[in-house]
Amino acid sequence: MRVHAQRAGALFGGLSFPALSVADWTVNMTPGVTGTSNDIFDLHMTIFWICVAIGVVVFGIMFWSIFAHRKSQGAKPANFHENTLVEILWTLIPLVILVIMAIPATATLIDMYDTTESDIDIKVTGYQWKWQYEYINEDFGYFSNLATPSDQISNRQAKGENYLLEVDNPMVIPVGKKIRFLLTANDVIHSWWVPDFGVKKDAIPGFINEAWTRVDKPGTYRGQCTELCGKDHGFMPVVVKAVSEEDYNTWVNQQIAMAEKERELTQKDWTMEELLERGEKAYATACAACHQADGSGVPPAFPALRGSAVATGDIAAHIDIVVNGKPGTAMQAFGGQLNEADLAAIITYERNAWGNKVGDMVTPKEIFDYKNAQ
C-alpha cells in the first residue's frame, strides 16, 4: 500500500515539477558492469531474499496473533512462557543461515582484495574538492573537477542531464584490462566510488589503499565522493570513461603530448592580458570553491581575497602562500597541483581582479625559478 502511495506521490510530483521528469524510481542496486559488481549484486539479492523469508515467517506469526488472539475477540491467554527445544532451534537455525551466507561473501571479498598482476596502475589522489589521476606507468596526470556550472546549482539555469555527475577531465581506462587504483589523499579523507564497478575505497592522507577493476563494456560510468570531506563534499564526482584499447592508446599519446605543451608554456613570454585571461579560468577551477568567484571568501575558514593583505601586499609572500599553502589551514600547497603558467596566471589575476588594483604581474618563468630555488 505504501508503494502505491509513493507511486501516486511520484505521479503528482512528476506532473507538478516538469524539470524533474528525468528522475526515476529505481528501487534496487544495479548489477554494474564488472565481475566484482555482479558478485556483489548476487550477494545483495541473496541476503535480501533471506531477510524477506525470515520476515515473512516472523511477521506472519505476529500478524496471525494480532488477528486471532485479540482480547476483543474473546481470546484467553495461554500459560506457556518457555520451551527449551524451540529456543535452541531458533538460536541454531539463524546460525546455520549465517554460515551459509558467509561462504560466498568470503570468496567475493578475497577476490576483491587480489590487486596483483594489474595491467595499468592509476594513482588517485583526493583533494578538497577534486580528484587527481596520475597514470604512473605513462608519466602524466591531471585533475578532474566538477563541470556543472554554479548557475545550475543555484537554480539560475536549468539543470543538465548529468547534473553534479560531470567533470572536465574524466579518468580514461581501456576495456578488458585489469586496472589497479592506488588511492591516497592530500588533505582529509575522501572515498572514491564508482557503483557500476563495485569499487569504493577510502583515500586517506598518509596511506595508500589499493583497489582494482576490469571493465568489459565501453561506456561512461559515474560516481561520487562518499566520505564527508568538507563544504563541497557533494560536488566532487567521479567519472570514468572505458574505451577500446586503440582509443585508449591514442588518448595516452595525446596526454603525453599535452603534458609536453604545458611545460613549454612556462618558457613562453606572457603579457598581462594573457595572464589575466588564463588566470580567471584557472581561478574558477582551482580557487573559487573556497575563495568564491568574486573573491569574497567564506570567512573565517576561507578568507576573502578582495582587498586582502596577501593579495594586495608583497608579491613574494603571495607567491609563497599559493605555492606552499598555509600549514594548519585549509589552504593547500598548489605548487604541486598546478603548472607554472596557471600559478602565475592565478596570482596575477588575484592581484588585479575585484578592485585589487596592484598592477604588477608574475610570469611562469619566475614561478619556475621560485620553485627551483626552494
Partner: protein, 527 residues
C-alpha cells in the same frame, strides 16, 4: 549528616520544596527523572528542527535554503543532539523514574550525584548549541567527527565541542555508576538477579557499556584537543600520526554506543508486550542472556563501520563474521517477543501500538544491518543513504518508539491521570506513517547510489527525496502533538488507578498513581 539527623529526616517525609530550588537542589529520583525527560524532549525538538532544515534543503535538487557550510553544521548538530541530547538522557530519565520503583528502592543509591549528573547536561548542551553562533560556525564534520577533517580542518569552535563532549561523558558515567550501585545494592529483599524486571536488567548491562566506552570517547576527543591546540600528531599523517587510528578508537566507543541507545528500549518493550498480551514474557532467561551476548559482541565488531578504509582481508573477515553473529541473540529477542504475543489475549492501547511497531520496524532495521554486515556488499552500501535508512530504522522506531511506548505506559503512574487515548493513537499513526514515508525511500536512494551528507544531488534521486522530505515534515510536526498530550495528561484527565493496565506486572504498579514523592521507605518483600 549524622545518623540522628538522618533518622529525623526519615520520619518527617515532606513533599517537594517549593519554587525553583525544588528543581535545582532536588535529590529525588522522580524529580530528576522528570527533568531528564523534559530535557530530552526539548533536545528532541531542537535536533528535529535541524532535521527539518536538512530535509527542506533536500526537498529538491539545487541549493535553495542553506549553503553547504551550514548544511554540514545541521547534519552534525542533528546527529550529536539526537544521540547525546535526546535518546541517552531519555533513557536515563526512564531509569531514574522506574528503576527504584521496579526494584522496591526508596531512591537512587547516590542521590546528590544524580542531581549533579543531570545539571551537567544543560551546561554541556548550552556550550554545544552556542557554537552555532560562533565565528566559523558550529562543528561541520559529521557526528562521527573523523580526523583530520575535525582536527586540522575543523572550525575554531571544535574545542568547545570537545569540552561539551567531555561534560556529557562525565554526566553519562556518573549516571551509569548510579544505576549500577542502585541495582546491585538496593533491590527489595527476595529479588534475586534472575527475578529482576527486564528493564532493570537491560539498564544494568547498558550502564556497564557506558562505563566501558565513555572514557574511550573522552580519550579520542582529548587526543583531538591535543592535536588542535598543543601541536601533537595523533591523527595527523604529516606528523607521523594515523587518521585511521581515530576511526578505530571512535568506533570502539561508537558501536557499543548504538546498543546503549537500544538495550533499555528492549527492556521496556519486554514489559509492554506481556502487559497487553496478558501473558508472561516468553523466555525470560534467554532474554537476559541475549542482552548479555549482544553487549559482549558489541565490543568485537567496531571495524564493520570501516570496511572501506583498507583493513587487511583477515581483519575484514573477522569483523564480518562477528557482526553476523550479533544477529543470533537479536533474533532470539524478536522471536521471544513474537512468542509472547502468540496465543495471548491482545489489546491495542497506545503503548502496545508503539511496541508492535518497534518490533516490526526494528527488525527491518536489523535486516538492513545484516545486509550491511556482508563486507563485500558493504562496499556498495557504505556511506550511502542505505546506511542512513538503516540507522534511522533502528533509532527512530527502535529507540524513539521505545521511549514513546514507555512514556505512554508509565504516564498514568507519573501523573495520576490517563492520557487522551484518541490523541495518543493519532500521534502513533501519524508518527508511524510519517516515519516510514521519510526513511523507507532512503533505502532506494542509497541503492541507487546517493551518498550521505550531501546538500545537493543528481537528478535521478529527486523524486524519492521529495517523498522522504514530505514524510519527515509529517513525522516532525506530529511530535508537537505528543507535547500536547503530555501537558494535557499532567493537568488533568481520567484518574488513573494504581494499576491502569490489566496485564501489567511489577512493583511499580503496587504504589498509588501518581506515585507519591517518596515510595518504598519500607522495602517490599518479593517472593
Amino acid at each position: 549528616m549524622s545518623a540522628v539527623a538522618d533518622t529525623h529526616a526519615q520520619e518527617h517525609h515532606h513533599g517537594p520544596a517549593s519554587g525553583i530550588s525544588r528543581w535545582l537542589l532536588t535529590t529525588n529520583h522522580k524529580d530528576i527523572g522528570t527533568m531528564y525527560l523534559i530535557f530530552s524532549f526539548t533536545m528532541f525538538l531542537l535536533g528535529g528542527t535541524m532535521a527539518m532544515v536538512i530535509r527542506a534543503e533536500l526537498f529538491q535538487p539545487g541549493l535553495q535554503i542553506v549553503q553547504p557550510e551550514f548544511f554540514n553544521q545541521m547534519t552534525t548538530m542533528h546527529g550529536l543532539i539526537m544521540v547525546f541530547g535526546a535518546v541517552m538522557p531519555a533513557f536515563v530519565g526512564l531509569a531514574n523514574w522506574m528503576v527504584p520503583l521496579m526494584i522496591g528502592a526508596p531512591d537512587m543509591a547516590l542521590p546528590r550525584m544524580n542531581n549533579w549528573s543531570f545539571w551537567l547536561l544543560p551546561c554541556a548542551f548550552l556550550i554545544l548549541v552556542s557554537t552555532l553562533f560562533m565565528e566559523g560556525g558550529a562543528p561541520n564534520f559529521g557526528w562521527t567527527f573523523y580526523a583530520p577533517l575535525s582536527t586540522t580542518y575543523g572550525p575554531p569552535s571544535t574545542t568547545f565541542f570537545i569540552f561539551a563532549i567531555h561534560i556529557m561523558g562525565v554526566s553519562s558515567i556518573m549516571g551509569a555508576i548510579n544505576v549500577i550501585a542502585t541495582i546491585l545494592n538496593m533491590r527489595a529483599p527476595g529479588m534475586t538477579m534472575m527475578k529482576m524486571p527486564m528493564f532493570v536488567w537491560t539498564w544494568l548491562i547498558t550502564a556497564f557499556l557506558l562505563i566501558a566506552v565513555m572514557p574511550v570517547l573522552a580519550g579520542v576527543v582529548t587526543m583531538m584537543l591535543m592535536d588542535i591546540n598543543f601541536g601533537t600528531s595523533f591523527f595527523n599523517a604529516a606528523g607521523g600520526g594515523d587518521p585511521v587510528l581515530f576511526q578505530h578508537v571512535f568506533w570502539f566507543f561508537g558501536h557499543p554506543e548504538v546498543y546503549i541507545m537500544i538495550l533499555p528500549a528492549f527492556g521496556a518493550i519486554s514489559h509492554i508486550i506481556p502487559a497487553f498480551s496478558r501473558k508472561k514474557l516468553f523466555g525470560y532467561a534467554s532474554m537476559v542472556y541475549a542482552v548479555g551476548a549482544i553487549a559482549l559482541l558489541s565490543f568485537l565488531v567496531w571495524a564493520h563501520h570501516m570496511f572501506t578504509v583498507g583493513v587487511p582481508v583477515a581483519g575484514q573477515l573477522f569483523f564480518m563474521y562477528a557482526t553476523l553473529l550479533i544477529a543470533v541473540p537479536t533474533g532470539v529477542k524478536v522471536f521471544n517477543w513474537v512468542a509472547t504475543m502468540f496465543r495471548g489475549s491482545l489489546s491495542f492501547e497506545t503503548p502496545m501500538l508503539f511496541a508492535i511497531a518497534f518490533v516490526i520496524l526494528f527488525t527491518i532495521g536489523g535486516f538492513s544491518g545484516l545486509m550491511l554486515a556482508i563486507a563485500p556488499a558493504d562496499f556498495q552500501y557504505h556511506d550511502t543513504y542505505f546506511v542512513v535508512a538503516h540507522f534511522h530504522y533502528v533509532l527512530v522506531p527502535g529507540a524513539i518508539f521505545g521511549i514513546f511506548a514507555s512514556a505512554y505506559f508509565w504516564l498514568p503512574k507519573w501523573t495520576g491521570h490517563m492520557y487522551d487515548e484518541t490523541l495518543a493513537k493519532t500521534h502513533f499513526w501519524l508518527s508511524f506513517i510519517g516515519m516510514n514515508l521519510a526513511f523507507f525511500p532512503m533505502h532506494f536512494l542509497g541503492l541507487a547510489g546517493m551518498p550521505r551528507r550531501i546538500p545537493d544531488y543528481a537528478l535521478q534521486f529527486a523524486d524519492f527525496n521529495m517523498v522522504s522530505s514530505v514524510g519527515a515534515f509529517m513525522f516532525g510536526s506530529t511530535q508537537l502533538l505528543f507535547l500536547l498530550i503530555v501537558v494535557k495528561c499532567v493537568r488533568g484527565g481520567e484518574k488513573a488507578p494504581a494499576k491502569p493496565w490489566e496485564g501489567a506486572e511489577g512493583l511499580e504498579w503496587t504504589v498509588p498513581s501518581p506515585a507519591p514523592y517518596h515510595t518504598f521507605s519500607t522495602p517490599p518483600v518479593v517472593k
